[in-house]
Symmetry: C2
């Protein structure tokens, strides 16, 4: 994918982008695409797990802000736009069997089952755009890295077989930006809301900021404070631990692009 | 003043309380009084200084959130309620000559001059009430102490002869409360708004948190972050440095109680 092609992609509306993806003409990541519309983490489960997962999301809204959930068997996210088909509109899927990643595909039509329920969960790409729009820079973006993510000692609230620790993403900032980032992200509960922790990482069970459990490490300056937001990797981590027979998610960075802006949900 | 009398005072409306004060029947502090209505720091200056001070407030809204300013010569704050007379409705005044406190009085009718301008500036009593209402405790209140205040290395924006460093108040909190306190106070720009700094005090020129320049020190626990808000002592400090012939303020803790609630201004 050349940068010229990506620039051309960036001008597409969410609907146009989903149509490209549906035809298999784009299978890349969605960072910066979709003209600032909300992007979603995707989780698809069989009915036997779906009710518990729905309850898990409701009980843990910071980690799992639920943007939409389909009717059992229906592949359409009605709240996210017109004709949003979860079988084909995500650029790349990951199929997990018994909690382990098993296969990556770009369309799940042939895997779709009559009792599947699909969940769309808010994603940090959207709140990062709100921070950038306010002039707040983020080191991982400046360095072209993935955000640093960590398992913590913070318990999620269990729902049936689903339980486990919260995963957080970390962004270091100077105090003035940290205060503004808290103000800004608190306005967007659908993209994880305000930080769950600021300051000393050991208080939430993180012993080495330079050794993230997911993503890439970034340096932190003397005059910066680390801010920790609940992360959409939490549900994936909790599901992996519960080890259901089958679970389908988006592949990391390959989100569903919706027709909705922040303020709409 | 017995606690029974204070309890009786707490049930008075702001208007009733001001009438008691106007008659000289109450000359005490106003913490917790006025049924949650906005309280104000008071600064009174001669016309020759008033225009510069007005500009200073406008340029430094975090330190000097201006609730109201009188017409030159008029003692009435029209925006703060009906019949709010700055000559008699503050329980205790401090008269400063050439920047130095000179005298405390409970009525300034006999000192009033035809070119006086009075300024009402938002006060942290009101945002502390908003934090308490959200279940956030503050150590200085729990310990019955005055809040700790510090001169910083943060420059205010000068206006004419008025210039100097920002004074801040500090409240230590656990991270979860710190995030919520930032969210809550950012909604109330008229009572100093969000913190101007969080974390390492040396970054704003404070070398020893246990040695505040004003108020009382409070202990800080290992798992707490200090939050620093711009403080209404800043204008007093800046005026003292500029050393005008005459300035009248409220005595510390003895505020003007207005008829307005947070949301109204």
């Amino acid at each position: 994918m050349t940068s010229k092609t990506l620039n051309a992609l960036a001008t597409r509306t969410p609907r146009e982008l989903r149509q490209l993806i549906r035809r298999g003409d784009y299978t890349g990541h969605t960072s910066g695409l979709g003209q600032r519309h909300l992007q979603a983490n995707i989780v698809i489960l069989q009915r036997s797990w779906a009710d518990e997962f729905l309850r898990f999301c409701v009980l843990n809204p910071r980690s799992c802000p639920l943007l939409d959930v389909t009717e059992p068997g229906s592949p359409y996210f009605e709240k996210l736009g017109s004709d949003v088909d979860v079988r084909s509109d995500v650029p790349r899927y990951r199929i997990h069997r018994r909690g382990q990643p098993y296969q990556e595909v770009t369309d799940i039509g042939e895997y779709w089952e009559a009792d599947f329920v699909a969940f769309a969960i808010g994603c940090s790409f959207s709140f990062e755009q709100a921070l950038l729009d306010a002039g707040i820079r983020m080191r991982h973006i400046d360095m072209g890295r993935n955000v640093a993510m960590y398992r913590t000692s913070i318990d999620t609230i269990p729902a049936g077989r689903l339980a486990g620790k919260m995963v957080v993403s970390m962004r270091p900032m100077k105090a003035v930006d940290a205060v503004r980032a808290i103000e800004i992200t608190s306005r967007f509960p659908m993209t994880h809301g305000a930080p769950v922790h600021i300051g000393d990482p050991t208080l939430i069970g993180i012993n080495d900021l330079q050794a993230p459990d997911f993503g890439d490490p970034v340096p932190i300056a003397e005059d910066e404070i680390p801010l920790f937001w609940a992360c959409g990797v939490t549900p994936q981590s909790v599901i992996a631990e519960a080890s259901p027979e089958l679970c389908i998610t988006h592949a990391p960075g390959h989100m569903l692009v919706s027709d909705k802006l922040y303020g709409e949900l």
